[in-house]
Symmetry: C2
Subunit: 360 residues, 2 copies
């Protein structure tokens, strides 16, 4: 078992990474300070792991709320189901919410914890690779609005994060790949050595080698913990973690939530970011090819959706959170392993990149 | 013009109190850091003050959203109207929301600011006495749930609070009284001298003497700023500010939101708290009579709603946020000017107090 710590003064917390950690209740149940617990899960994950979690909480008053599965339910109405359940069960300010599931469950549970009675504790038990390496760490919580993804939320840190790598055994292939998109992202933005390691080990990761997956998760979480400790509220460096995301959010909005997995959209978006970086002369065509290769090796899409035009992209990107004072900011690559947040690119180059990628 | 400061480290902010401060745009517009502003007001207040505020923001990109007036609209659906407007106007993370109105507008605008893109700036311009002395200061924001008042929210501090005492000229008598309920509360819980001052000056306050109202507001805000600085997240002392509120919330829930003004319900609740304190032998009957007298002098109700039973009270109070681990905690009076948060009272005495008060 590995332990990493996210260093945020009085909001610091540990990330536990290892096999069968859900079953090690004494590890994480000590982070529950009251005698009430609300487990939030979804229809897909609950049948697999809910009983295991409940078994470790026999001394608590445990309630559960099972949400429908999918990004399209990540909204205020579904959030309100959690509040209703909390109130019907008379859960008080000392309760602890437990997020048992992927990124959607984690984001919504964290936001519900941030808002219920103006803030109660919560624990993340992420069960997908994507949520284990990214969304469960760092305290970004929230829901979507019909006009934009993740537009309503809070920075709110959990008491601890329990990454049970055994849960990856039940993960569909498509979701494993989606998680690998975020794993590759860490290499591209900040860690060339890790990128090289991923290039060497991608076949084994795709075969779900447990040691290598645990090592990948550990390295991603270590990078994320470091970035979040430096810039919790995303005033600067943390934005680097959004490589490919502005393009990706546009793809998700275009195809409708749930049409593409988040990680898939990020993968296609990451290649667009690399292509624009190359067009600006910052990286070489060989770097773009290398980016494409590793994404393909991870089973990820590298082309925008059929029928999506550059105009579609530009309109949808205009409502991205990273549009500051009307100026679109993107995460681009100065080199592999070295990303920057910038609005320092000609609009014509962005359009040319999108035109070429969407030419079909 | 008075200035008070709420001391919360990097979230400290000033409260400005004085005549015609809305018109002194240079005083508060310097707290707007971006070039986008969203003014949130309601149907009642907007016709009175919106143009004045807009006139001071001619160099900004200003949008407005006008909410329906009333506590019954303080919910997630109405909150979503603010998010929709923010997104339709493409407001970004540097925007500043301005709450122009009473407590409902302030609570919702503050919560919208807390959540929009995980947090943007906001400014409070409270236009009712109640919001000027209480809800605009201290960062409690939120909305109601059908199962409980203020159950969904955040602690989120404004950039500044602009208390323009001239706005009280347009306040209906009923709302002036409702605000005085919270004013009296400060005296009862923490400041016997202030309570005596209020007893002497209540007739003039009811006549809206501008100097005396400004002085009352200043003293209330000074007490609140001090309490909030000591206990921002209500782990202890801040709960004292809820004198009468647990009873009051039960009254509001019983009659339906909007049936009684919040301040009216707090007034009747405050007398119940005093009566229970007397029954416990903590204060004298003369203290209860004095409490009743000043509430009556302020034009406030001191009896529960006709037809509300002690059972109604007890059931509704059981979902109050101050119920910790099933134990009801109340704010009671050890003496006039000295309140405590306690669960140290026999349930039978609470019931007897409620039985007597509701006997009609």
């Amino acid at each position: 078992m590995h332990q990493l710590d996210v260093d945020l003064a009085d909001r610091s917390y540990p990330i536990f990474i290892g096999q069968d950690l859900i079953a090690e209740g004494e590890l994480w149940s000590s982070y529950i300070r009251g005698n009430q617990v609300m487990i939030v899960s979804n229809e897909t994950v609950a049948p697999l792991y809910l009983k295991q979690v409940e078994a470790k909480l026999s001394d608590k008053q445990v309630s559960t709320v099972i949400l429908p599965d999918g990004e399209k339910y990540k909204d205020l109405d579904t959030l309100n189901l959690i509040f209703t359940q909390l109130l019907e069960q008379r859960q008080n300010r000392t309760t602890t919410l437990i997020a048992l599931g992927g990124g959607v469950v984690g984001d919504m549970t964290g936001f519900a914890a941030a808002c219920y009675q103006r803030g109660v504790d919560f624990i993340q038990i992420p069960t997908t690779l994507l949520s284990q390496v990214d969304s469960s760490v760092g305290g970004k919580t929230g829901v979507n609005h019909v006009l934009g993804k993740n537009m309503i939320g809070a920075f709110y840190q959990p008491q601890c994060v329990v990454i049970d790598t055994s849960s990856l055994n039940t993960l569909p292939d498509k979701e494993l790949s989606a998680g690998l998109a975020e794993v590759i992202k860490y290499g591209l933005i900040l860690d060339l050595n890790f990128l090289q390691w991923l290039e060497q080990n991608m076949p084994a990761l795709m075969e779900r080698d447990p040691q290598l997956l645990a090592e990948a998760i550990r390295r991603c979480c270590a990078i994320k913990a470091q970035v979040v400790a430096e810039d919790e509220k995303e005033m600067g460096k943390r934005a680097l973690l959004n490589l490919g995301h502005t393009f990706g959010h546009a793809i998700e909005a275009h195809v409708g939530y749930g049409g593409w997995l988040h990680g898939e959209a990020v993968a296609a978006g990451t290649l667009l970011a690399a292509q624009l970086s190359q067009r600006l002369g910052w990286i070489k065509q060989a770097d773009v090819d290398r980016t494409r290769s590793i994404l393909v090796a991870a089973g990820l899409p590298v082309e925008p959706p059929v029928g999506m035009s550059s105009t579609d992209f530009l309109q949808l990107m205009a409502v991205d959170k990273k549009v500051l004072d009307g100026q679109l900011r993107l995460i681009l690559l100065r080199a592999l392993g070295d990303a920057v947040v910038t609005s320092d690119f000609p609009a014509a180059e962005l359009k040319a990149t999108l035109d070429k990628a969407t030419a079909g």
